[in-house]
Amino acid sequence: MGETAAKLGLARRGGDFLRNVLGPFLALVVVVSIFWIADSMQADGGRFATLRNAQNILVQSATVGVAALGMTLIIISGGIDLSAGTAMALSATSLAWFLREQYSPAVSVAAGIAVGCLCGCANGMLISLLRIVPFIVTLGTMTIYLGLAKIVGDNTMVRPLPDQVPLWMKQLLSPRVEYEWMVFAPGVWLLLVMALVTAAVLRYTVFGRYVFAVGSNEATARLCGINVPLVRIAVYTISGFFVGVAGLYQFTRLTVGDPTSGTGKELPIIAAVVIGGGSLSGGRGSILGTLTGALIMQVISSGCTSLRLPNPIQEIIIGCIIIAAVTIDQFRQRRQAV
């Protein structure tokens, strides 16, 4: 009996796998196919299905992707972080400031990431200690971080001299890869490694279970002796770390520290998680889904560009995809519930 139960358990997890991962992945395949076909039907088409384009898309989605890793944790734990965009700009600006002030690249990067961690930690502390809902807290800190970034940047962009930016930073997210064997930019590989680690932490650690527990039902978590405030602070701090790395990514692409570059960026970050199957009511979400979500959005905007569709159309399509993704997800859940 135990053996069959175990087998069923596997089958059951297989079902979960299909639902949580393959769902968004299938959407990605559909989106890619649509643009591939549309592109090859054009007279001067043939630019979509190229390695160059794949490299571009991955590089362009990496920044949102990194920040969305942290957002996935937050959303699974039942929270939200509206300050992710401005916190990312704050850490990018800080990083640029440290570089300009002649600090070594290593110190500057560490400082930039530390700023991200602090932003996240502050969010977590405010939510846990003041017991205010995450939406409101991060709505507040969103503006606070924007203001802080402007102070760091003295109300303008922070421009380190070209020779103050080390070569590896310039190559981190360059679409043209230095070494051909790498195929994709180092930043893309780094993102992949971080994603794997985060997914493993979510699935195979006690902390991961607690994150799901807190998001699924906070009262149950408390009843089971889980230190809910501590889990929450940890989640936001870890997410702050990813926001800091996203700041590094953002900086390497802009090569300036722009305090306002993160405004509005929280929305694609949240959208990536939601398209990837995350539930804003907590308890659900997956790293692989989130990355797929980030990719779907980038494929659409790149695809539209290569089809010469204007910007507003891209935005409308992405909006529709977000709503469609959640609708399909709900439908699937409802069917499962019966």
Binding site: A5, G9, R209, A213, T220, L223, G225, I226
Partner: protein, 498 residues
């Protein structure tokens, strides 16, 4: 001979491969209370959903007052004259009594609500229920559960319901409120309505119903007038086998003192609760809803703020955090499986092990295979019926969910188990299993505090019973020295002896 107001013939419904209802026929007559009885999963809720129009039957016909009845949704069912009073009340807590009663059926002229007319109709409905004392303008959220139920019933009356279905209406009511509800039901019945009454409590059914229908595995297992049917008859129809003993006796003896409270006080309740609990003892806690029983357990667990008093477990005084209390050996099964007891959207394995993951973790990393074996072991021990340990808790029946919640405190190896209404809303068979489990735990030298509003089970299972009223722990006596009546008068604050 009363006329059949609602007639269902040969109604069947399947969900995928699962046959939820198979050829169910029944009739509810005007001026009569029909009790619908069955274990969880017997098909009661599917039948309800069909009546309310939430799902439509695959086959079969329904007739309401001689006309074909095929509701397309809850609203259409309500308009046709079938009203549902659910276990979880469907009221908008911030709206006033009048607004709630008239919600969705506002009397209006050109889009403007005719307030005077509405008040008159609501007052008439409350009069019919003999509850004119309810303040019409109070937000419903400030009413007691019992009064909220009255508001729901009034809502049914305003729509001229012909059939009212009550789904476990007494599960969150005190004995006193139950009697009020029954008086209201009798009035409804006398006015010619047909009442369908769904409940697990056989004593209640005997008190209120005229006829019964027992559902088992989606079909009608038996029906007839209640007069003449014994409790044993009905129970054996429900479970499909003879239930020799609902209350199994496992001998257990009391040992040394394990838990002691001295003047434990919370914010509102409890007020200075003092008690001692020994190993191998089952202590029952009785009282009305709101008497402070749940608060006592929550303060013990440090889930609610503690104002004063000492808690000693095996001689030690643990810190005031849920974590410390769990480590000291306390385990709580919450009265509310849905919102607190279990994380509904997580798996059985997770829910069972949340409070004790250490055995499966090394430096924070989990050995999931090891855990699955252990969880499956517990599921077998407690007879949890599920496809696998990875099944989501929300897809389990109430009884199986409760077993998972109890398995968790057993898995965490709690010495003192605090069970808050563990048998509420679950089927008879599972109840018997839980009673046996409690006795076995006591026999192993654990101690149990058992909160229940059901006097019979308290008196049958517990060694001692304590009664709470208005936050105070009034009296603790050996179970043999209590009767249902003396518990009730103590809970109501009427001292039986003076």
């Amino acid at each position: 001979m009363p006329t059949a107001l609602l007639r269902m013939s040969q109604v069947s419904k399947s969900f995928g491969a699962t046959r939820a209802l198979a050829d169910v026929s029944l009739e509810a007559r005007g001026g009569e209370v029909l009790a619908l009885i069955g274990e969880n999963g017997a098909g009661k809720s599917t039948l309800m959903k069909i009546l309310s129009g939430a799902v439509s039957p695959d086959r079969g016909e329904m007739e309401l007052a001689g006309r074909r009845f095929a509701p397309r949704g809850p609203h259409s069912a309500r308009l046709a004259g079938v009203a549902m009073i659910y276990q979880e009340l469907n009221l908008a807590p911030d709206l006033a009594v009048v607004e709630n009663v008239m919600l969705g059926q506002e009397s209006r002229r050109c889009g403007v609500v005719r307030r005077a007319d509405e008040r008159q109709r609501v007052r008439a409905a409350l009069e019919q229920l003999d509850r004119t004392d309810l303040p019409l303008d109070l937000p419903v959220g400030q009413l007691s559960v019992a009064d909220q139920q009255v508001v729901e019933i009034a809502r049914a009356l305003v729509t001229d319901a012909k059939v009212i279905v009550f789904d476990e209406p007494t599960s969150s009511l005190t004995r006193h409120d139950v009697q009020n509800l029954f008086r209201a039901i009798v009035r409804l019945k006398q006015s010619g309505m047909a009442i369908i009454y769904i409940s697990h409590f056989l004593e209640e059914i005997r008190q209120i119903a005229d006829r019964f229908v027992v559902l088992r595995d989606g079909s009608v297992a038996g029906s007839g007038p209640l007069a003449g049917a014994t409790e044993a008859d009905i129970v054996s129809l429900m479970v499909g086998r003879k239930v020799e003993e609902l209350f199994p006796s496992v001998p257990h003896a009391c040992g040394e003192i394990l838990l002691s409270l001295e003047g434990l006080s919370g914010r509102r309740a409890p007020k200075g609760a003092t008690l001692e609990l020994r190993r191998g003892e089952i202590l029952g806690l009785s009282g009305l809803v709101g008497a402070g029983r749940t608060e006592l357990l929550r303060c013990l667990m440090a889930l609610d703020p503690v104002r004063d008093g000492r808690v000693r477990i095996a001689g030690l005084e643990p810190r005031r955090t849920p974590h410390a209390r769990i480590r000291a050996g306390l385990g709580l099964v919450s009265e509310d499986r849905k919102t607190e007891g279990l994380a509904q959207r997580e798996t059985i394995a997770d829910n069972l092990t949340y409070s004790r993951l250490q055995p499966y973790s090394r430096f924070g990393w989990l050995n999931l295979g090891h855990r699955r074996t252990a969880v499956e072991d517990w599921m077998r021990k407690l007879n949890v019926k599920a496809r696998s340990s990875e099944q989501l808790v929300e897809h389990l029946s109430g009884g199986n969910q409760q077993k998972v919640a109890i398995a968790r405190v057993m898995h965490q190896d709690a010495d003192v188990l605090l069970l808050d209404e563990p048998t509420r809303g679950i089927d008879v068979g599972t109840k018997a299993e839980i009673y046996r489990l409690m006795a076995q735990l006591a026999a192993q030298g654990k101690a149990v505090i058992f909160v229940s509003s059901y006097f019979t089970e308290l008196l049958a299972i517990c060694d001692r019973v304590g009664v709470m009223a208005r936050g105070e722990l009034r009296e603790i006596r050996p179970a043999s020295e209590w009767t249902s009546e003396s518990i009730l008068s103590c809970a109501l604050g009427v001292d039986g002896r003076t």
